[in-house]
Every structure is written in C-alpha cells, then in structure tokens.
C-alpha cells in the first residue's frame, strides 16, 4: 500500500446532480452534507466540487437545501421517473420536467 490514492469517477451513468460552475463559490457545504459522499472537493482551493460518484446519489437533495447560492445546485430526474399530473379543470396533462 502506497501513500497514493486515485479518484476514479463513475462513468456512463445518469448524472443526478449538477453544480453551476459560474455561480458556485466553492464553499463545499454540499460535499460536507452529502450522506453517500457523492462529491469530492476540488483540488484547487475554492474550486467547484466534483460529482465523482453519481451512481451513489440517494436523490434526497440535502446538497440543494444547504447550498447558500440560489439555484446553483440542481437535482435531476431520470426520464422514466417524470411523473404526470392533470389539470382538473382543463384535463391538460403535464409532466415533471
């Protein structure tokens, strides 16, 4: 065992959460709160965290809740989970986008 360790991210999986690189302030609160440890902090101090293990996301949204910058972190829904609802008066159907 050496002192080295490698971060190897999940590949070719659905990405459940994204961080707006323009508005992220690099506070790492999302990294701190995430229960399954989906994120790792950027190697650059103050940089944008990396979504390293997207397949392990629990879809709870604590990262969205704790983020101090409005709309900086977005949770995404898989197409197959986009629930339908119907407006009662018009009968018009909508789907979670």
């Amino acid at each position: 065992m050496t002192d080295k360790a490698l971060a190897v991210g999940d590949t070719d999986v659905f990405i459940p959460v994204s961080i707006n690189e323009e508005t992220c302030i690099g506070c790492n609160l999302c990294v701190m709160v995430c229960q399954p440890d989906v994120f790792v902090p950027s190697i650059d101090p103050g940089g944008v965290p990396v979504v390293l293990y997207p397949s392990e996301c629990w879809y709870v949204g604590d990262c969205v809740d704790v983020c101090p910058v409005p709309d900086c972190i977005a949770l995404h829904v898989m197409d197959k989970n986009k629930v339908i609802w119907k407006r009662k008066e018009s009968g018009e159907e909508f789907q979670l986008s």
Binding site: T2, I43, S55, E56, C57, W58, D62, W85, S97
Partner: protein, 650 residues
C-alpha cells in the same frame, strides 16, 4: 467537472496506516436518529464520556436525517386516550406475536417525551403559527396536529426537517465526541474472544484512510438494518433500496462475528421499493402513509370510494379518520403488517382489481384539489415537505415545474403506495424485519453491547429509533459507571487492522459493485420466495465460495472505495446470517413471509416462537425464545426504569 471519465489524485490527504486512539466510557456506533438520541442520553449522565462514530456527517445522516413527517405511537401525549399497553399489544397481536414487545413498549411509553425534548432543542412539533387553526386533526390547546385516527390521536404530524440539525447541535452542546466520516469495521472483545465482553471497536476514516481504535466500557449499535441482499442496481446504487447506501447493516455483520444473537432474520417480504424501478417515494398519487387520507379519482374524474373494514362506503374525508362502529382504534403507519386483523383494520380503498370490476377506469390519480383545504395543506404543504426525502425532490421540484395541489391531480402508478412490481424471489427487509435480540435494558446477549433503532429485531420508524436510542443510552451509561476498565487485546486490533486494509492493498481485482451483484443473484436463487434445507445449504456453500473467491479479491483505490468494499463484505455476512436464520425455522410462517417447499404445514403451533441464532466458532448456535419472552411489559418496564420514572414524575 462531471464524473464522466474523471480520474485524478485523491483530493483528501492520505493517511493509510496512521492510527488514532480514543478512550471513552460509551461508544455509539452510527449517528442517525437512534445514535444521536443514545449519545444525548449518555451525555446527560454527568461524568460519562461518550463518542459517536458516523460513516457520513451527523448533521443530516441516517434514514431519518433529512426529515420526519409523522411520529408514531406517541400515546402519552395529552390528547390520546390509549395506553402504552393497548397500542403495543395491538402491534404484537396484529403480527401474531412476531414483534418486539420491549422496543415498541418503549416507543409508546417514551416517544412523546422525546418529542418534547426535541422541541426544547429547537425542533418544531406543533402548529405554533396557527396555520391549521380549526382543523379537525388539530388540538386547539396544545396545537398538536394528528394523522390517521383523529379520535385516538396517537400519531403526530411533525416538521421533521428541523429535527436532525437540532439533535446534532444538542450533541455538540453536550460535548459528545463526534467522529464523522468514520466507518467501524470490527468490534473488540475482552481477550479478543468471541462471546466476550465488548470493549470497543476499530474503524477508519473514509476520506483519509486513517485507522482508529476506540476503547469503551460500553457500546451501542445504532446501525440500521441490512439492505442490498436481494436488490442492487450498479448504475443507480444509491437508490437500490429505500434507505441510504450508508445504512446497509454494518452493525449486524460486525456483531455477528463476535457472537451477538439475532432473531427473525428469516423474515423478508416481497420487495416493495427499489429506485431503479420505482418512482420517488411519496412522489406519486396514493392514499397511504404521508398521503393518507387523500381523495382518489379514476381516468374519467370519478371519485374512488373509501370503505371501512366492513365494506361500508365512507362519505367524507373525516370519516376516513375515525374507527369503524364498535372499533376502539385502528392501526395505520409504518411497519403495518400485510395481514392486518379485522380488529385493527382501518379505512382504505378497495383493491384495484375490485375497483376495475366496479367500472373505474385506469389510470387513477390523487386529487388533492377536492380535499378540505386543511387536509390538502397537511398532506402537500406539511408532510410532503417534512418527510425524509420529499422537501427538495418532491415538493420543491414539482412546484417549480408548475404542480399546483389546489388544481392538479397526480398520477398513481400502482397499488397502494407501490409504484413497481417485483418478482417473488426479489425480497427486502421492509416493515418489521429481524435483527439483534434485546432484553429490557436494550442490551444484547454480549456484556457491554447495547442496540437501538432498526438494529433491533422487529423495529421501524423515527419515533421508535428516538425512544429506543435514548433508552439504550441511559442503560449503557448506567452500566459504564460501574463497569471495570476495558482491556483491549492488541492481537485482535492487529488482526482487524489487516482485515480492514486488505482491499486497499490489492492493486487489481473485483470491484465492489460486481461483488454486490453476485450476492443478490445468489440470494434470489437460493433464499428467495420459497425455501428448503437443500436450497439454503447450497446457498451457504455458494456464498462461502464467493467469499473465498471474488470476496478475497475485491479491491479499493481510495478510502471511499474501501468503505464500499467493506460494506459489501458485511452484506455478504448478513446474507449468511439470513440463510442460517432460515435454516433453523423448519416450518412455513405466514406473518414471517416464510415459505418452505419441504414443510407442507403452515404455522404449526409448536413453531410459534423466536428462533435465535449466533455464531459459535465457525458454526452456529441456536436457542429458542418464547413468543412473549418480554412479558409482562408494564411490570418489566417499571422494574428497569425507576430512575427515569422518578425523574419524570417531578
């Protein structure tokens, strides 16, 4: 940067092989709801040091870390006419005795005390802003809000997103030593012997890899229940099961290895929820749990009829929240049996097949818009917003996309709250599965080892975790005050250190996900819906091959992967416990969802008992417990809790 193709140096400082030593009086393993309450109880016992070890971050960790929309069985609240004896006995009877009479009595007796405690810490438990003034489910004097049975008022609607930060702050205020992002990998026993007094634990930091050795007079397992034994989807690993990945039953595996006793692990229901196939929890139209007592309509907008236990149509929403004529109370909520008895059966919709036969057209929808305003606000505003996985993925995201509960009808995708169908061989620990055996101190069979929350057999829900956590903390603290200094066996520490780091020492091998897939395939094949001695024995042999083959070559490139690898090796151990538990029950049992092909008789009376298994060397020890081993509940509770009773009567 997204994850795709990401590969770079591990961003945390690597401390493989470095060692941290901690001395404490009481060690709490797991910082979810039960764990935080256990730590608080110990810390309130003046002069008793407590250390809490949590695999994630205590501020939001555990299955209930993000919220709690209702608190069950709080019968000592001032608005409830029931007694702890009545509600606990009903839960026992409704499960034909296969239930934990101790832990559920504690839940009923002390659950409301914990809610009041939470309020003092800053948690919100009542309608202080008078948002629901005048609602039938609100008590105007206490401002408490109730769910399900509005006559007997034993379930309280809560603002549970406030709970975990409040518990975390209280732990900090009481100087609980918190080791976050630390996975416990083994328990330590006196002289390193199986069956000996538990004197601490070892583990490692899941970011740095640093090894930790904790010496403790008493330890409390608050490590949830096993998962991912039959269900695992590699690309959506985090939602393979209902609970978070971290809660996968590490405590079961590590305590099995040192000789702890388990019961009821032969009980696994046909799977109810898995994220790869189900819709997000509480995110589709239904009438159960959080969504009770919602209106439902069919595709043409025709309202589906609610009926009482005798099939009588219930005309109003309020009628769905009252017991039937001649019925004192009904049971609703988490952990409810599939085979509810007439005595406790509550209002519901007729089964879907019957509704179709009656001419109702699919698909069905939940129609919040036609509910009385207060009911609509209680379901969508309060409960869908305060439950563990609803605030962001359901309430905020649906509303951002334009969903309006006062105008829209939400699609239902299956029977009850289910939104996917599973094969009979796909099992899951849902409701009241097995776990560690406990006495009236919530101690296990091992001296120095206590358990709480879902780690206990036949356990479920937030209030239960809180009440049993606090209770176990009290008793562990009392034991620690008079216990002898614990002696750690350094040979055992070195053995466990080697075992912990083994996957990180390999440069190549099997990835943890592949090993988890193998376990689920074996469990579906050899320990699925229908069991037999031959199948189960073959299953044990195949699992042993897996342990010696792929299990011995699982590898990790950093501390996070090491955590996942060791979790799956624990899942492998849990699979073995389940098969051992299944092997010793030789007759089929309906309430345990346990079917054998080599025993034709269902529920023969001589098998109405708890089968208890523990590891004995490399074999298994079996003993039996009477189905009511904990009786009489009230008398035993009083005998073991005089201090608490005295303090609370002042």
């Amino acid at each position: 940067m997204t994850a795709s193709q990401a590969q770079f140096d591990w961003p945390y400082p690597i401390k493989w092989g470095e060692e941290q030593r901690v001395d404490t009086d009481v060690l709490v393993l797991g910082g979810g709801i039960a764990g935080c309450w256990a730590a608080i109880a110990v810390a309130r016992n003046k002069g008793t040091a407590v250390t809490l070890v949590e695999k994630a971050r205590t501020i939001r960790s555990g299955a209930g870390g993000s919220g709690c929309d209702h608190w069950e069985h709080a019968v000592t609240n001032p608005c409830c006419p029931l007694t702890p004896e009545e509600i606990t006995q009903a839960q026992i009877d409704s499960n034909d005795g296969y239930n934990n009479g101790i832990s559920h009595y504690i839940e009923a007796k002390e659950g409301y005390d914990r809610l009041l405690d939470l309020e003092k810490m800053g948690g919100k438990i009542r309608d202080t802003e008078d948002e629901f003034e005048g609602a039938e489910f609100r008590d105007e004097k206490t401002k408490l809000l109730f769910a399900y049975d509005y006559v007997n008022r034993y379930t309280i609607r809560t603002w549970g997103t406030t709970f975990k930060p409040a518990l975390h702050a209280e732990c900090r205020r009481l100087n609980v030593g918190i080791l976050d992002r630390t996975m416990v990998t083994a328990l330590l026993t006196e002289d390193g012997k199986q069956g000996g007094r538990v004197v601490g634990a070892v583990g490692f930091h899941v970011h740095t890899g640093r090894f930790v050795v904790i010496r403790a007079k008493a330890s409390i397992l608050c490590t949830s229940r096993p998962s991912r034994l039959w269900l695992f989807t590699p690309d959506l690993a985090g939602i393979s099961e209902f609970r978070p990945m971290q809660a996968c039953g590490d405590g079961h595996a590590i305590s099995w290895r040192v000789g702890a006793e388990f019961t009821m692990l032969e009980k696994a229901v046909r799977a109810e929820w898995s994220g790869a196939r189900s819709f997000p929890p509480y995110g589709t139209g239904n009438t159960h749990n959080t969504w009770y007592p919602c209106n439902m309509v069919d595709a043409t907008g025709r309202e589906l009829p609610w009926v009482d236990r005798d099939g009588n149509t219930l005309e109003t929403t309020a009628d769905r929240c009252r017991p039937a004529p001649g019925q004192k109370f009904f049971l609703k909520g988490g952990g409810e049996t599939w085979f509810q008895k007439y005595e406790f059966l509550g209002p519901d919709l007729p089964p879907t097949e019957e509704l179709i036969r009656m001419g109702y057209k699919l698909p069905f929808y939940a129609d919040l818009s036609s509910l009385p305003e207060m009911e609509r606000k209680a379901i969508w505003g309060l409960m869908i917003g305060e439950e563990s996985k609803t605030k962001i993925p359901i309430k905020r995201m649906y509303e951002d996309a334009g969903f309006d509960p006062s105008k829209d009808q939400l699609r239902s995708y299956g029977d009850s709250w289910w939104s996917a169908k599973f094969k009979p061989s796909e099992r899951q620990f849902f409701g009241l599965p097995g776990g560690l055996v406990n006495n009236w101190e919530l101690r296990t069979n091992l001296e120095g080892l206590y358990a709480a929350g879902d780690t206990l057999f036949a356990s479920d829900c937030h209030g239960h975790a809180a009440a049993t956590g606090y209770y176990a903390g009290r008793h562990a603290a009392r034991y620690a005050m008079s216990a002898q200094e614990p002696m750690i066996d350094e040979n055992q520490v070195q053995r466990e250190r080697k075992s912990t780091y083994a996957p990180a020492k390999r440069e190549k091998g099997i990835a943890w996900k592949d090993l988890n897939v193998s376990i689920t395939k074996i469990m579906q094949e050899y320990c699925g819906a229908v069991k037999s001695d031959e199948l189960l024995t073959q299953g044990l042999n195949v699992l042993q091959d897996l342990r010696e083959g792929e299990g011995a070559s699982v590898f990790a490139r950093n501390p996070h992967e090491l955590m996942r690898s060791l979790e799956v090796l624990n899942i492998l151990t849990n699979a073995e416990i389940v098969i051992h538990s299944s092997l010793v029950r030789k007759a089929s049992c309906k309430q345990l969802h346990f079917m054998r092909s080599d025993s034709t008789e269902m529920d023969p009376p001589e098998w109405h008992k708890f089968m208890v298994v523990s590891r004995n060397g490399h074999g298994v020890r079996l003993r039996e417990l009477p189905i009511d081993y904990y009786a009489p509940m009230g008398e035993n509770y009083e005998k073991h809790n005089q201090d608490y009773i005295r303090e609370n009567s002042i």
